[in-house]
Symmetry: none
Subunit: 132 residues, 4 copies
Amino acid sequence: MILLDPMDRRPIYEQIVEKLSALMISGVLKENDPLPSVRNMAADLSINPNTVQRAYLELEREGSIRTVKGKGSFVADLKNLRENHLEDMKKEFKNCALKLKAADLQEKDLTSMIHQIFNKTAGGGEENDHSR
Amino acid sequence: MILLDPMDRRPIYEQIVEKLSALMISGVLKENDPLPSVRNMAADLSINPNTVQRAYLELEREGSIRTVKGKGSFVADLKNLRENHLEDMKKEFKNCALKLKAADLQEKDLTSMIHQIFNKTAGGGEENDHSR
Amino acid sequence: MILLDPMDRRPIYEQIVEKLSALMISGVLKENDPLPSVRNMAADLSINPNTVQRAYLELEREGSIRTVKGKGSFVADLKNLRENHLEDMKKEFKNCALKLKAADLQEKDLTSMIHQIFNKTAGGGEENDHSR
Amino acid sequence: MILLDPMDRRPIYEQIVEKLSALMISGVLKENDPLPSVRNMAADLSINPNTVQRAYLELEREGSIRTVKGKGSFVADLKNLRENHLEDMKKEFKNCALKLKAADLQEKDLTSMIHQIFNKTAGGGEENDHSR
DNA sequence: GTGGTCTAGACCACG
DNA sequence: GTGGTCTAGACCACC
């Protein structure tokens, strides 16, 4: 279901949170879908169940999933999650733009970068960096 | 000279590296300017000299400062530092744009956001987040 | 596993880096082999764990090992390490030859020295000097 | 008379020792030639007289110069100095050759490198590295 | 258990 | 005075 990157230097539970969030946001996991049990996922990924447990706790804390004792974990209401995620990305985008403005780049420089991105089929985009 | 944020979850030495880098990039610290001595900065920030030392070590390794035993540490050649920093910011910007594209935003949505930023006197930009 | 030379004037952590590099280059330590834990090696060498930690930090920075929090440190990809090491040795060799040329030695003097080395079973080579 | 390299990370007194040795070995300074006074050289190089003093002490310890109270310092007998220096360089050269042999290079690889060096007018030789 | 960070305080080399 | 190294011992995050 998900794949860990051993080169990623972030804690494993954080990777799991991120991957599952992505699956939920992208619609692969829909509302009320059951998540793999802690034990199953731990076995699949060959990691400690504690680590999976911690990831699920994190997801529950942020409201993305809900856990029912004895039944398992399920995807929660996603509307808020999606909206929050979109807002976060917009904020981050504006923040970057501001910094580039501070570095003396002009509006046309940024719009041309964006134009490039939207007019390439498979852009030479950079992968997310997990350097830390 | 610099101020630590106790809420920042990153290690102290990393905060120092970032703050000093920012001062050098923004031009507050110019080439060959002396940095505060390890002991002085440690006393100013009420932290252990070893921690400052580690930050300076990091800065020297990345070539931002140059250190002479018995004399002190000095700002080094900044051309490379500035260029690297600009490239990093551009990458981050493109990355954000790609994610927003994946979230179904259109080119005009992004360009209009940029237009807003460049035509506001004091933008409502968010502060850098140090969540980690 | 490794042995420190108290007469070596270089810092301890640098000796550790050198010894471990040698073990990796010579193939005693192979890719993905686990290194001794920081605490273990510190106990073995009767030195402070911080000192070992510093050596490991150095090795990771140069890409020779890869470290996973909570798991330990492991030998990384060695191709680059080996190539760099070979280049360094070639440079040093050429440098020596240049100096001898400057001291009025002729090409045949050098080639005959080399011939000797390659035709002796156990060369009377000098040990690395750690004078600094 | 001599020039310090501020980028050289070795202690200043060590640089002075090296430069003066080179001048004596190459014959620019001959036996019984007077060396600049400690004060003069310190003024010339804009450094602390203590530092020059330490360099002279080092040179006297290794027998390259001799100091007469109230008169100054003078170049000593150079025969031994020259011979020792040559022997040291030969040892170093053989050592390098041995290491390259251990790295699976063949005799012809080394002799061809030497041939290159002796048949280039202004060789693309590497500068001495003072990285540490 | 592991590594990562930090403190307190020491000693050394250099200028 | 400066930076560089080391020790002793602590606390944290992660697994």
